[in-house]
Structure formats: structure tokens, C-alpha cells
């Protein structure tokens, strides 16, 4: 071994190469990190097209070619020196506007791989090229090149074989690289990205201009499904602007890989943001499902510190509460504005199941030609932010009052809402002449029949709708209980014997910092020495429960995500149970007026498009789709 005790007595300056390798350990974790650094550099260089080629999951080769402004000969020589950057002046660390700013990426890569750079700047008569292998730099030599930069990284980690062993295999690395490009491409629809190589097929994101550019790029990356099942976001508060698209609660995934966040155009995966997202969808999606979103947060650069993590994945906001609040309330507001809307994929999938010879669409569509996503008719998908017209709630329609004993004052021809025979109407043939066509133009149409003592079939102007009556009514009841709770506040039982919960000082601190939020959710805590907190009041709705455990879970959430919705989640869970018991059961037959009332109520109730577990409460089949089923289109 080298480190004989006598060597340790001397403090030595580390060699440059050693410093670079240590830095590389942090900056370059895997091939995808190299791709990220190189593509970011190309974006910073003002490129309009960036081509990435890989082989062997990036360990054999990564090549990034851009048409940016390139480097002059002296700049090229400097670029591979540590802490040499053209992007940051001394004053500017507080207001970083480029993706790179440390001058660390190229030297780090050069210390762990064979790096060669060829570049041409407009002011140079020809291009220059140089290489770095395991930290040893060659002198620049002339190269034939048009404007731009080509960087090749071969044999990644050849200089640090230990790192190679930790890689997850070619496939995983190949996917990780694709993911990095998706994240970068998402923020920059104006740039054309292409990725190809011996280890993958070719994917191209063509460059897009115009007001809908962002949405088109999203469709390129996430598929057109998303565009049809998302609502636009555009909210601003205290100089922070939130834009992008939030997937409908019924459009969910098993993994969180479809959540794209960027802060001032810089892709990030920050715990605070992910936590806030969970909070926003908390009560419309099962906890093991993940939403699909594309969100950019724009704020003055000095309001955010991007220099907190070697790979720049985390950021630190000066006002984290504001950012979190904006995400939670922005998404919730956008989702509730969609009211009854559920995902179209339910109806699509049904259709697909019926259609003979149907093949699932490829999971990763790579449209060669960008096209505007189809706007789902009658829905609120608004590229320009258009909204379905507000549907006034007919005064005489009160679903809640529509029990079998309700007076038949609904202006219906056949009057009797059926004290004794609520079954009659449901059994009438769909062509019964008494049907009122006036609801046809409503989004959920006019009820025609109930099938299997649960499903309502309703007719719209251009299709039909199937409603899961039990799930829908459960959701309506739940929303009503929630609304009431919001109006009346959370009743709290004070504790005769406060519960003392022992924690770490950090956890106690995090809880106390969130004390106001917790109190409005019904949990009142106070400090009990540095390491413990005392719980003084608890939400009455939760009955008697394991207080210490809840508090510890909240502390975990707060320390890892900066946010916790546990108290609300539990209260809402109790409400859901209440809702479930108070709802129309499968098996109860509804009269047509009752069915129509339910549809109208759904149209005006926020979040009624999905049940409490994120399943849709209704699906739609378009007439065109039905006709296609019969080969008539």
C-alpha cells in the first residue's frame, strides 16, 4: 500500500488529475451524466440542432455534435482546464442563466475517459481539435469543420474501473441517456434533437416554433395521449410563474418517470417539487400511482440556488413555501376546473378491445413529422387555454334531494319519481317517447338507461357515455363532505394528556416549522425540549389513533420531501369511507330523472371525473369511434 504512515504526516497539494478525478466522481456518475453535461454545453452554445450518438450504453462511445458558436483556439485550450468557464463572471453566481457555470464538466470527463473535442468558432479560419486521455492533454491542432462543436467521449471510466462495475448494464444506461435527452428536449422545443447509435433506434425531436411549440414537443416526447388528457397550467404569484401541463388524475402511471420539472428551463428532479406534486394529486389518485406532468417554474435567477448538488438535479428556493403552494394550488385549481372530465384513454381502450386485430401502440412514439395534437371535441383541452363554457346548474335539480321520497317537482312529464316503483323508468326501452332531448348538448348527455343495476348509459350529441353510478356518487358525496369541512374547519379534540413524541432535533425542527399548516389540518403541536414535541390537539374525525406514529410519519415526509399531507390524507380517507357508506350502491336502480340529476351534478362538481382511487367515473365513446367499430367510417 502507498499510504505508509510516514506519508500521512505530510500535507500535500493534490495533483490536478487527482482533483479532476475526485470531481468526476461527483459530476459524472454514469454515461447519462456525460450526455447531460455535453448536451447542456451545446445548448449553452446556442445550438439549434444537437445530435447525440452512443454505443455500448454510452460506455464505448458518446458523441455530441452541435451547430453552436464553437470555441476559439485559446478558449478550447482553456475549456479543459478546471474551473475554466466562459459563462460565469465573479458577480453572477447569484443569477445563473446558463445551464453550465462551474467549468467542471469537461475536465472531469477528460480525467475518466478518452475525450476529444473538435470545434470551430466564426472568428477562426478553420477548426481546432485536441484530446485528453486520462487527464493527459494534447496541444490543439487544426481540423476541418464547419461552425460548431463535436465532442467524442470513448471508453468511459477506463481510468476508474471501479466505477464501471457499478453501472447497471447497457440497457439501463441506454434508457437513462434517452431520459436525459427527453428532459432537456422538453424545455427547448426550438432545438432539434436527434439520438441514435448502435445500441438504440433513432429518435428525432424536430424543432418547433410558434405559440404551441411546447405542447407539440410534449406530444413528441410523451405521445399524443398526454395532450388529450392534460390541462394547461399558467399561474403566477409573487413573481413566480408556473406553466406547463398537468395530466388528468385518471391518466396515471406506475412510475414517476413521466414527471418533468424545470426551473428557468433547467431540468431538475427536486424533492420539494416532487413532494408538492404528490400533494396536489393526493386526493384524486391512489398513492401507488403517479401523475404525468410537465411543469416549468420561472422566477428571477437570484430567487433560486442551482449550485447545491454536483449534478444540479436539486435546487434551493429562497421561498420554498411559495413555490410549493403555487404548485399545489395551481394544479388543484386547474384540475377542479375540468370538473367531470375523465381520461379519454378509458373509452379508447374499450374500443381497442372491441376492434378485431388491434395492436397496442408503440410505447415510445417518435413522430417524424410534428403534428398538432388532436383536440378532443367537447373537452377543455385548450392549446390556447380555451375552456368549456360554464354550465349553469339547473336550479330545480338537486341530486341530493332526489331520494325515492322526494316530491316529483321536476317538471317531468311522467312526474312520479316512484315512491313504490323506482324501477319502471330504468326498464323502459331506450326509445321511450318521454325522453327529454334537452340534455343532449350537455357534456354528459341525457340518460337513457341503467345497465347491470349500476352503469348509466347516456347519449350525447356526438357519442355515448357510460357512467359508473356508484363510483360517481361516491365521489360527489366525498367532494361535498370535503367542501363542508373546508367551510367549517377541522374540529379538534384537545388532549388531556398531551402525547410526547421523541424525535431527532432535525425532525422536531421540521415539524415545528410546519406547525401552522398542521394546525389548520387539525394537529396542534408544540416544542417539548429540543428533541421532542408535544401533541396538544388532534382532529376529532380521526377518532383514537396512534398519534406518535402519525407524527413520526409526518416528520419523515417533511425531512425527505419538505411537505406532508398525511393528516389531510387520513381525514380524507375517513371522509371517503363515510362517502362510500352514504353513496348509491351498485344494485340500486335509479329512475331516469335520478340519473340525469346525477349527470348534471357531475358536470358541476370539481374532480368528479375520477373516483377516490383515480379510476374514471365515466368513459366516452364517440359516435365516430362507434361507426368505425362497425366499419362504417
Amino acid at each position: 500500500m502507498q499510504n505508509h504512515p510516514s506519508n500521512l504526516t505530510h500535507v500535500r497539494q493534490l495533483s490536478d488529475d487527482m482533483i479532476n478525478r475526485i470531481a468526476a466522481g461527483e459530476v459524472i456518475e454514469r454515461p447519462a451524466s456525460v450526455v447531460k453535461e455535453l448536451v447542456e454545453n451545446a445548448i449553452d452554445a446556442g445550438a439549434t440542432r444537437i445530435d447525440v450518438t452512443t454505443a455500448g450504453g454510452g460506455t464505448t462511445l458518446i458523441r455530441v455534435v452541435d451547430d453552436g458558436f464553437g470555441m476559439t483556439r485559446p478558449d478550447l485550450a482553456l475549456a479543459i482546464e478546471r474551473h475554466c468557464t466562459s459563462k460565469l463572471t465573479d458577480e453572477a453566481l447569484l443569477a445563473i442563466e446558463t445551464l453550465g457555470f462551474r467549468g467542471e464538466a469537461l475536465p472531469s470527463i477528460g480525467s475518466v475517459a478518452r475525450l476529444s473535442i473538435a470545434t470551430r468558432h466564426a472568428s477562426e479560419p478553420h477548426g481546432w481539435e485536441l484530446s485528453v486521455e486520462g487527464g493527459i492533454k494534447s496541444a490543439p491542432r487544426p481540423a476541418a469543420l464547419t461552425l460548431g462543436t463535436r465532442i467524442e467521449v470513448r471508453d468511459l471510466f477506463f481510468a476508474t474501473p471501479a466505477r464501471l462495475k457499478f453501472l447497471r448494464g447497457e440497457r439501463a444506461e441506454t434508457t437513462a441517456i434517452a431520459d436525459v435527452i427527453k428532459r432537456l428536449a422538453m424545455a427547448r422545443p426550438d432545438i432539434r434533437f436527434q439520438i441514435s447509435g448502435s445500441d438504440r433506434g433513432t429518435t428525432t425531436y424536430t424543432s418547433i416554433a410558434g405559440p404551441d411549440a411546447h405542447l407539440v414537443r410534449i406530444a413528441q416526447i410523451l405521445g399524443e395521449d398526454f395532450a388529450e388528457n392534460a390541462v394547461p397550467l399558467d399561474f403566477e404569484r409573487d413573481g413566480i410563474r408556473l406553466t406547463g401541463f398537468a395530466g388528468l388524475p385518471t391518466f396515471h402511471r406506475a412510475a414517476a418517470t413521466h414527471q418533468f420539472f424545470s426551473v428557468n428551463g433547467r431540468p431538475v428532479r427536486d424533492k420539494l417539487l416532487l413532494g408538492a406534486l404528490r400533494g396536489a394529486y393526493m386526493d384524486v389518485m391512489a398513492s401507488d400511482r403517479h401523475s404525468v406532468v410537465v411543469i416549468d417554474i420561472a422566477l428571477p435567477p437570484e430567487e433560486v440556488d442551482v449550485n447545491v448538488h454536483p449534478t444540479k438535479a436539486d435546487v434551493r428556493f429562497r421561498e420554498p413555501q411559495t413555490v410549493r403552494g403555487l404548485i399545489v394550488s395551481g394544479i388543484r385549481a386547474a384540475l377542479s376546473a375540468t370538473g367531470h372530465r375523465a381520461s379519454t384513454t378509458g373509452g379508447r381502450a374499450t374500443l381497442a378491445a372491441l376492434r378485431p386485430g388491434w395492436q397496442p401502440a408503440p410505447a415510445y412514439p417518435a413522430p417524424a413529422q410534428a403534428s398538432l395534437p388532436r383536440v378532443h371535441s367537447g373537452q377543455t383541452m385548450g392549446i390556447g387555454g380555451s375552456r368549456a363554457p360554464e354550465i349553469p346548474r339547473p336550479a330545480s335539480w338537486d341530486w341530493q334531494a332526489m331520494g325515492p321520497a322526494a316530491p316529483a317537482a321536476n317538471g317531468f312529464a311522467e312526474g312520479e319519481t316512484g315512491q313504490d316503483s323506482p324501477v319502471h323508468h330504468a326498464n323502459e326501452p331506450p326509445s321511450a317517447p318521454t325522453l327529454d332531448a334537452s340534455f343532449l348538448s350537455h357534456p354528459l348527455g341525457t340518460a337513457r338507461a341503467q345497465l347491470h343495476e349500476n352503469y348509466i348509459v347516456s347519449q350525447t350529441e356526438d357519442g355515448m357515455i357510460l357512467v359508473d353510478a356508484h363510483a360517481a356518487h361516491e365521489r360527489l358525496t366525498y367532494e361535498r363532505l370535503k367542501r363542508q369541512r373546508a367551510e367549517t374547519g377541522v374540529a379538534r379534540q384537545m388532549l388531556l394528556i398531551p402525547e410526547i413524541v421523541e424525535l431527532t432535533a432535525d425532525e422536531a425542527g421540521a415539524l415545528l416549522a410546519a406547525a401552522d399548516d398542521l394546525a389548520s389540518a387539525g394537529l396542534v403541536i408544540e416544542s417539548f425540549g429540543g428533541q421532542a414535541i408535544a401533541v396538544r390537539e388532534v382532529p376529532v374525525l380521526l377518532g383514537k389513533f396512534d398519534i406518535a406514529r402519525l407524527v413520526r410519519d409526518i416528520a419523515d415526509d417533511l425531512t425527505d420531501q419538505g411537505i406532508s399531507n398525511r393528516v389531510e390524507t387520513r381525514i380524507n380517507r375517513v371522509l371517503s369511507t363515510v362517502a362510500c357508506h352514504g353513496s348509491v350502491r351498485t344494485g340500486r336502480r335509479l329512475t331516469l330523472p335520478e340519473m340525469d340529476a346525477l349527470l348534471r351534478e357531475m358536470e358541476v362538481t370539481p374532480n368528479s371525473g375520477q373516483c377516490n382511487h383515480g379510476r374514471p367515473t365515466w368513459v366516452e365513446l364517440k359516435l365516430a369511434d362507434i361507426e368505425r367499430l362497425f366499419g362504417r367510417s
Binding site: R480, L481, Q484, E487, T488, G489, A491, R492, Q493, M494, L495, L496, I497, E499, E537, V540, L541, G543, K544, F545, D546, I547, A548, R549, V578
Partner: protein, 372 residues
């Protein structure tokens, strides 16, 4: 073993012991009742490993011995035998079967060896005293409702029995709390209770004690050690493990300085609370008490269904006050009070309230308000 007993005697004993046998057991022998024929008695015994109940009944023994048989099965059989019949129990030489005969009925039941039957009753009991069954029952009845069912604070899952000095008298006191309310009841400590350890008697045992008190005038012998309690109700002996934990210093949560006395007619108050809370739907909806100037207004608001108020004439001379309580808790406490007139000692809407029978200090209840 061969023994003959009166059906009535056997049934009564089985009725006492079979209750603690769990319906489902992973250890088969715990489903059984131990039968031991010895001298002039048949002894029966059952356990769930926390509680042991034993009883002896007079019997004619032609062959002493012991065995175990399924408790619920035996109980059901004996229950269905005709009144006044005799029951003969005889083990077969194969050691695996017992025959039960009564009149023309005959049953054969599988047995398990008596040597496998667990005994949790061993140990040295350091304190022993007698109390009147009705006194014991009163302590248990008054406090049992406040026992916590929440298992993390296991030390609250029972009644805390201990002695305290009050104005020169030594009292035998029972306390239970679930962290929302507290109940305390006591009487003058019997001779022999001096210096007894404070013990927490688990909820299931408390339930058995209530059922085993049949004759209120009888004496119950209490024996204690640090980890067990034994209560002898005549021929029935219950031994139970105690909860191994420290009961909180409850004295600190009993308010001393509450000076606003509200005096109500107990049954009128309870009926009014019950009526107004009809409106509430979610569990534990608050009832608001507005007091001032000789009047108490109870009100409940439920945004879902409406509201209710009721006014009662009361004695109250302090300044007006609004305070909210869980209506169920109020009703439960009102149900514990023993006299016609209840006194609420209030401080403010954020502090514990003390509730007692007027003119009696042998029981008290503390209730924490709700915030709405």
C-alpha cells in the same frame, strides 16, 4: 378419571370459565378447559395466558384424575342438557377420549393431556385484603368507559388501582383515561391495602370482574404482587397478569382551580344533549355549551343537515362562557353520575373541565373540550 356432577353446578362453573377461552387459538390446549377430580370437588380451570379463571363444584368422584377438553364444546353440550340432570364424565383407558353421559345422551370428546395445560397463577402475592363486591364493582363500572383502546399507549389500556391519602384517610382508588377524558372513583381503603403497589388491571380482566360479581353483599378477596392480581369470588378465583408499565401522573391533569360552577339536572342535561346531537352525522360532532345568567344553551350545527338548540335552566353565577365538547363523551360521563344533580367546574374553553355529582367526592370525571 370418573366423576358425577349436577348439571346445574357444572353449567354455572363452565359459564364462568369458558368465557375467557378464545374462539380461535393457535395453541390447541388453550381451547380446552382443565378438569381435575380430587377429594369431593371437580375443579375447572381455563386460561388465555393472561387471565386464569378457576372454580370448584361439588362432585361424586369414583376415580380421581385430571384431563382437558374443548371448553366451548363442553359448555354448549352441558347447556343443552335438561335441567336437573346429572352428568357423568369418564376418561377412557386410551387416554385420548372422555365420555360424557347424561340421561340418554352420550358424547365422546377428544382430550388433551392435563400436563400440557399452562399455569400462570404461580407466584408470591405480597398483599391481601377483602373488599365488598359492590364497592369493587362500583369502582370498575365508574371508570371502565374511559379505558384507552389505543395500543401504543398500552399503559392506558386498563384501570389503575392504587391507594392515596386524602385528608388523613387512606383511599382505594381506580383511575382510567384515554387521553381525552379521565375517570376516577374511590372508597376508604380496606385493612391490608396499606402499602400495596399501584397496579394496572387490563381491560379484558376488568370485563371479567364485572361479570363475576354476582352477589353485591359478598366479600371479594384481593391478592396482589407486582405482576399479578388474584380475586376470589367465593369458589371462583380469577388470576390475571397486570399491565407492565407506569401509569401517568394523572393528578396533574385534574384541574384544581376551576371556579365557574355550573349546576345542572343530570337527566335533563343528558336527555338534552342526546336530543341536540341527533343532528350531528360525523362521529364526535361537537355540542356547544353556552352558559350565562342561569341559562345553559346546548347547540349543534351540522352543515349537512341543519342545527339544533335546546335551553336548560341551570345554576350558574360566573361570567358567560362558550365551550365545546364531544357529545358522546358528555353522554358517557352523564351516564356515570349517580345523583340527580351534576356539577361542572369550568375554567375556560381551552382547559379541562371537572364533572362530579354534587356533594359527593368519591368519583370525578375530567373532560377536555373540543375546538370547533
Amino acid at each position: 378419571m370418573k366423576v358425577t356432577v349436577e348439571r346445574a353446578h357444572l353449567l354455572k362453573a363452565l359459564n364462568h370459565v369458558h368465557r375467557i377461552v378464545e374462539r380461535r387459538n393457535t395453541i390447541p390446549i388453550l381451547s380446552n378447559v382443565l378438569l381435575r377430580a380430587e377429594g369431593d370437588d371437580l375443579r375447572l380451570k381455563a386460561t388465555d395466558l393472561d387471565i386464569d379463571v378457576a372454580e370448584r363444584v361439588p362432585a361424586v368422584i369414583s376415580e380421581p384424575g385430571a384431563t382437558t377438553v374443548p371448553a366451548h364444546m363442553l359448555y354448549d353440550i352441558v347447556r343443552k342438557l335438561p335441567d336437573g340432570s346429572q352428568v357423568e364424565l369418564a376418561t377412557r383407558p386410551d387416554g385420548a377420549t372422555i365420555d360424557l353421559r347424561s340421561g340418554r345422551s352420550k358424547f365422546s370428546l377428544q382430550m388433551l393431556p392435563e400436563s400440557d395445560f399452562p399455569d400462570i397463577t404461580a407466584g408470591v402475592f405480597t398483599h391481601k385484603f377483602d373488599i365488598l363486591a359492590s364497592d369493587l364493582k362500583r369502582l370498575v363500572d365508574r371508570t371502565q368507559f374511559a379505558i384507552s383502546t389505543e395500543e401504543t399507549r398500552y399503559y392506558l389500556n386498563g384501570i389503575y388501582f392504587h391507594t392515596v391519602e386524602v385528608g388523613g384517610d387512606l383511599r382505594f382508588r381506580a383511575v382510567a383515561t384515554d387521553g381525552h377524558r379521565l375517570a376516577q372513583a374511590e372508597f376508604i381503603a380496606p385493612h391490608g391495602a396499606e402499602g400495596m403497589p399501584g397496579v394496572i388491571v387490563p381491560r379484558k380482566t376488568v370485563g371479567e370482574i364485572q361479570k363475576l360479581v354476582e352477589d353485591p353483599e359478598a366479600q371479594v378477596t384481593v391478592e396482589l404482587s407486582d405482576s399479578k392480581i388474584r380475586l376470589s369470588f367465593g369458589e371462583v378465583v380469577l388470576t390475571s397478569k397486570l399491565i407492565d408499565g407506569t401509569f401517568p401522573d394523572y393528578g396533574r391533569v385534574i384541574p384544581q382551580g376551576n371556579d365557574k360552577d355550573l349546576i345542572v339536572d343530570r337527566s335533563e342535561f343528558a336527555a338534552a344533549v342526546d336530543r341536540v346531537s341527533t343532528i350531528s352525522s360525523e362521529r364526535g360532532r361537537a355540542v356547544k355549551l353556552t352558559v350565562g345568567d342561569g341559562r345553559l344553551t346546548l347547540s349543534v350545527t351540522n352543515p349537512d343537515s341543519g342545527s339544533a338548540t335546546e335551553e336548560l335552566g341551570v345554576e350558574y353565577e360566573s361570567e358567560p362562557l362558550d365551550i365545546g365538547f364531544n357529545s358522546r363523551y358528555l353522554l358517557e360521563i352523564a351516564g356515570q353520575l349517580e345523583t340527580d344533580t351534576a356539577i361542572f367546574r369550568l375554567a375556560d374553553p381551552g382547559s379541562p373541565t371537572l364533572i362530579q355529582d354534587r356533594g359527593r367526592d368519591n368519583a370525578l370525571y375530567v373532560l377536555m373540550p373540543m375546538r370547533v
